[in-house]
């Protein structure tokens, strides 16, 4: 092996090691990944559930005991996704009406116990300052935490041409991210308003993070305003994941200390040429 190639190899390994050996996050994101974000009308789209970080995710099997809602909402209304219990992909959706198709997966809670330091790290990573403060005021920061967590994942796919008015629609999930407008028809480099609701009311002061598949390490983040709204400057091209986590004291019957809700929203931003051709079609 020649010296330059050895050096190149070494440099590559170093970079690899740096990226890989980052401290793994204490808790992982979960999102829906459709086989395509731009299906033809009538096409069957398979839906994968993924868990991971930085948009590097492992597929999840559909665990029937965990499904609370697995639904699709389009111009024709709300209906259940065709489930593949125990399978990956977890479900199938046939695109029956043109326009924006909203897919949602709301899980039942899962229980987890976390050591104090890991739980504190997780609260910091997800911007759950209020919970950190509550634990500190009760002298619980050094204590392990019992948590129940639920997933509230949504994905937006778009078929054919549609009117501007047709945007994302709320599904009534406990914690829910709603894109105000249609990311498939937004003009490039416009701020995208996204609203976060908890129990169908705007949630203020929550951390919302967005990342793109083409460069997941670079993250956009903002805190929601009093109306639960953030504006994110999403550049065109590639799949986007927007996420937020909310945590409240767990109900007494759950035998846990805290209950968390993980909202996610995935969609694709088309590049400029795609959007302009779409607009010219209308």
């Amino acid at each position: 092996m020649s010296l330059p190639s050895t050096l190149r190899r070494l440099a590559l390994l170093t970079v690899t090691a740096l990226v890989l050996w980052r401290v793994p996050l204490a808790a992982h994101d979960m999102w829906i990944e459709p086989a395509t974000f731009s299906p033809q009308l009538g096409q069957v789209v398979s839906l994968r559930l993924r868990v991971g970080q930085d948009l590097l995710g492992d597929p999840l099997r559909l665990d029937p005991s965990l499904v609370n809602q697995f639904v699709v909402k389009d111009a024709d209304g709300l209906r259940p996704v065709v489930r593949r219990d125990g399978g990956d992909p977890a479900g199938l959706v046939r695109v029956a009406a043109p326009g924006l198709v909203v897919i949602g997966y709301h899980s039942n809670p899962s229980a987890i116990e976390m050591a104090a330091d890991k739980f504190n790290q997780y609260l910091k990573e997800e911007g759950l300052d209020a919970v950190s403060a509550a634990r500190a005021s009760r002298n619980e920061s050094g204590k392990a935490a019992h948590e129940i967590f639920s997933r509230c994942a949504k994905s937006l796919v778009y078929s054919g041409s549609a009117t501007d008015a047709q945007g994302d629609r709320p599904l009534g999930f406990t914690l829910e991210l709603v894109a105000e407008g249609n990311p498939y028809t937004e003009r490039p480099n416009q701020d995208m308003p996204v609203r976060l609701t908890y129990e169908n009311r705007p949630l203020a002061g929550a951390l919302v993070v967005a990342m793109n598949r083409l460069n997941p390490a670079e993250k956009l983040s903002a805190r929601t305003d009093k109306d639960g709204r953030v504006r994110l400057k999403l550049r065109p091209g590639g799949m986007w994941l927007i996420k937020a986590v909310h945590m409240v004291p767990a109900p007494a019957a759950s035998h846990a200390d805290w209950a968390s809700y993980w909202a996610s929203l995935t969609f694709e931003m088309r590049n400029n040429s795609q959007v302009s051709s779409l607009n010219s079609q209308r």
Partner: protein, 362 residues
């Protein structure tokens, strides 16, 4: 239909795991086969594209999701070095370097994605006691199944990505000591030490039996013998008395010869005969102790084993007497010719055998 069955199985697995699982369950599974304590064969089955995505941090492949199984397989092989960084298999505290083979097969049906099957093989270091595993290339929880000759059923652990498994024992743990099973075992050992194992003891008991056709005679001698051998068996096992088998064994043979020869000249039970049988019983007890020491006694169930072995010995002796009674005692003990035709010739035969043993054991 095949796929449906597979899905059903997975469903059953998921449901059964629901109570113990913390994180969501992914598609990864790991099976470990430990063969004869010599070689290991580990199979990781996982989603091929998402693994390549994680390995390929420099983005050689822009979108592995659309790559063909062949392409994914060649990429996995290329990232071998990176892959190894987050897979740890250790025997005791030392990591081993396995041979790794990567294979990617198309999804089970039209919508399923290609699956990678990664095989790690190698030699288990000699003398290794435990095996531990960690696989940090998944964010989801997965099942680790370990099969080996040690355990009849495979052991399954649910692990989260990067979590290190609990150590898996390569050598069988000592079987749990159970009083009842120990008792039965030593009872049987005691019995078989007499029938069919101990012809010398059988001849001694026959010698006792042949003295007289009366039940009183047998009862007294057997009781004296039993009490005596129980005493020395216990004392020897607790190490209170210790007499070399080089002395005990010839004396046991001599005691048989004595009892048999006396039967030729004596036809009634005398009290000194009972006393002599008691003394001989002490000798035989030491002989039993020698045999029991060779078998070994469980430390935790010492008394149980000692008592049941003794009871087994007793049962063996009673079986000999019962058989002799059925064969000759019952039908002809009251006949005039019983002594001349049965007792004397049998006793002479026993005496000759015992004298031969005595000389042999000296």
């Amino acid at each position: 239909m095949r796929v449906d069955l597979k899905l059903l199985t997975v469903c059953a697995l998921l449901l059964s795991a629901a109570t113990v699982r913390a994180h969501e369950l992914g598609t990864t599974r790991v099976s470990v086969l430990l063969q004869g304590g010599k070689t290991y064969d580990i199979e990781i089955v996982t989603d091929a594209a998402s693994l390549v995505e994680k390995l390929d941090t420099s983005r050689v492949e822009p979108s592995p999701a659309d790559a063909s199984p062949d392409r994914l397989q060649s990429l996995l092989t290329r990232f071998d070095e990176t892959f190894r960084q987050r897979v740890t298999l250790a025997f005791d505290a030392s990591d081993v370097h396995p041979a790794i083979a990567y294979a990617v097969s198309p999804g089970a049906d039209a919508v399923s994605s290609p699956m990678a099957t990664i095989r790690l093989t190698g030699q288990i270091p000699p003398g290794a006691g435990h095996f531990t595993w960690s696989y940090a290339w998944t964010f989801a929880s997965y099942a680790l199944t370990v099969r080996s000759a040690v355990a009849e059923n495979p052991a399954t652990q649910w692990l989260e990505g990067a979590q290190t498994s609990a150590p898996f024992a390569l050598t069988a743990p000592a079987p749990p000591v159970n009083r009842l099973s120990t008792g039965w075992r030593y009872l049987a050992l005691g019995f078989t030490h007499i029938v069919p194992g101990g012809l010398d003891h059988v001849l001694f008991v026959l010698g006792i039996y042949l003295l007289s056709g009366r039940a009183r005679s047998v009862l007294w001698q057997v009781s004296a013998f039993t009490v005596a051998h129980s005493i020395t068996l216990g004392l020897s096992m607790y190490g209170i008395v210790a007499v070399s088998p080089r002395i005990v064994e010839p004396l046991i043979a001599l005691s048989i010869a004595y009892v048999a020869i006396e039967n030729i000249f004596l036809s009634e039970l005398k009290s000194w005969r009972v006393a002599l049988v008691f003394c001989f019983g002490l000798l035989h007890g030491m002989g039993f102790a020698g045999a029991l020491k060779e078998l070994g006694l469980p430390r935790s169930e010492f008394v149980t084993a000692l008592v049941t072995f003794n009871v087994g010995v007793e049962a063996g002796q009673l079986a000999v007497i019962g058989t002799a009674f059925m064969l000759v005692g019952w039908s002809c003990a009251h006949r005039a010719w019983y002594r001349s035709r049965i007792v004397v010739p049998a006793s002479m035969l026993i005496a000759c055998t015992a004298v031969y043993w005595t000389l042999q054991r000296l």
